[in-house]
């Protein structure tokens, strides 16, 4: 369990609505994510968790509602502008640059922190060359060491096993030095050992002096969610049905109903 978070609101989602065809994926969801906490979003399949993450990230434009980052309305910003504010993410289905090496993937995460343009890049003298080395050092010291991927740094990412690809995706997101990290099912498809590693990494970069990233986590592994989150929100059919500390949410009858169905339904089906 991490330390109780500050009360300052880092990310505010206000009455967000979006629909695809006739399906209302988000029907007025409001959330407050506080600075420095690990905030988990859970819910049955199709509840709208990933859609919400995509809206925060800017990949989907919401039909109505606002998203505020550190008090600033960013609903109309493009994804790359949101990245510049300090929002990084990982994807549910791995979205790495499969033709590049691990190192180059992470370097791309440093894109916004680098300056070289066409001319200086093409000449590769002075600043541009120095910049490459400075950022290489940062990546090696802060990210590759932390995530324990030194042995694969020169491998082409498409060739790596799934668990490592997940880790590289986290590394790439970290390279952005995000203030808010959106993690879309980071544990999905990992074995027990990899899940434990991943949970450790998330705690590290949430609490570590260097990162202090606010994390928004979408995850189905309830053990992990309940262990590492400060607060949990439950979505069902595009609506938020509960929010609060893990223990409280676990005991909430609405949540139990969403996951298991009505108690009466069970009787009906037995009869």
């Amino acid at each position: 369990m991490s330390q109780p978070a500050l009360d300052e609101i880092h990310l505010k989602v206000d009455d967000l609505r979006i629909s695809f065809g006739g399906v209302q994926a988000l029907a007025g969801v409001s959330l407050d994510v506080r600075r420095g906490e690990i905030f988990s979003l859970i819910g049955p399949n199709g509840a709208g968790k990933t859609v919400l993450l995509n809206c925060i990230n800017g990949l989907y434009p919401p039909k109505a509602g606002r998203i505020l980052f550190e008090g600033r309305d960013m609903t109309s910003l493009r994804p790359h502008q949101r990245a510049a504010l300090g929002i990084a993410r990982t994807f549910q289905k791995i979205e790495l640059f499969s033709g590049m090496t691990v190192l180059d993937n992470i370097r791309l995460g440093r894109h916004l922190h680098m300056r070289a343009g066409i001319l200086s890049g093409a000449c590769y003298v002075g600043k541009a060359a120095r910049e490459e080395l400075v950022h290489r050092e940062f990546i090696e010291r802060e990210i590759i060491d932390l995530l324990e991927i030194a042995h694969i740094r020169d491998k082409i990412v498409g060739m790596l096993p799934y668990g490592l690809q997940k880790r590289v995706e986290l590394a790439r997101a970290l390279a952005l030095q995000p203030r808010i990290l959106l993690l879309d099912e980071p544990m999905a498809g990992l074995n027990l050992e990899e899940v434990e590693d991943m949970a450790r990494f998330i705690l590290d970069l949430n609490e570590g002096e260097r990162w202090r990233a606010t994390c928004v986590l979408v995850e189905h592994d309830m053990g992990v969610v309940m262990d590492i989150s400060n607060r949990v929100a439950v979505l069902n059919f595009g609506e938020k049905i509960a929010e609060g500390p893990p223990a409280e949410v676990q005991a909430n009858p609405e949540v139990v109903r969403a996951y298991l169905g009505e108690v009466e339904d069970l009787y009906v089906s037995r009869r």
Partner: protein
Amino acid sequence: MYLPSGVYHEHYAQDQAWWRTTFIRAKMVVLFLFLLVIFPLGANLYLVSVANIIGYTILSAMGVQLLIGYCGQITLGHAAFIAVGAYVSAIAMLQYQLPYPVGLVLGAIAAGLWSVLFGLPSARVKGFYLIMTTMAAQFITVDFFITQYVSQVGGRGTFFSLPPGTIRIGPWTIDSELKVYYVMIVLVILCTTGMANLLRTRVGRAWIAIRDNDIAAEAMGVNIFKYKLLAYFVAGVLGGIAGAFWISSILAVSPEHFQFSWSLWIVGVILIGGAGSLHGTIFGAMFITLILEGLKFAIIPLSDSFPALQERFLYVKEAAFGLAIVLFLLYEPKGLAYRWQQIKNYFNLWPFSY
């Protein structure tokens, strides 16, 4: 990545260098010595002129390689930008008496900007639709603007010829194949180095990221639209350089040099050489040019018994090119560059290749 045992890097600069062992550095010195001294001095006029054609093909295909191989965009109208480079530099020299290097730079920049104009649709469309818009570049530029208007400038008719002595760099008049070769080799080395440097810095990585996964690239802060246009700009500049170089070789410009078939041809070059590889551009250009020259030699003795072959050489040439592309796509889809890599690996690991 292959490194022989016993090589230790103590700085990241060493680890990121292109040529990381003494052996490779020695090989590169030999290569440059060959390109800059041994070949031009030793080869006869014919070989030098073939080398010039290879150089022109490399320069032409490099922009296509950038767009198709590295940025995942499609271009089927690249000859248009080569034409813009050729015409702008020719007009700069003929109408405004500017020196050749200035004309070359102007031609390159004009071609780059013209290319950006036709890159604009890439913000909205992908795939087949983008093919159509880039083909439009070919027809609008070459068949309409250049044929109808630009080639009328100065009342020379459609065929601009550059009087001997027009093309000079400072005191140095470029009037022989050998001098053209030196212009070519310098341009090829500069462009290749520039491209290779771009690809290992921020801009090039953004391009490759767009090619591999544009959604993730945008989520990581890459302004996709801007970088696509930058790719079109740089590709156009490379095309412009190719065009401005080519007028030094043939001392004439005409819309016929920049037909749609040349656009297709240079796409074929990178398919044969290998998309997404700078080596591939060079190998593809060499392969295509040498195959054609080889065909000529094969046809000359045959033409005694089959006179039709000689007069239809143009068709034989196109057919051979088409066949080469089909065979490569079937049997070597990653191109010659991949095969080159495999051969190198074989020798690096020999005799214990496991």
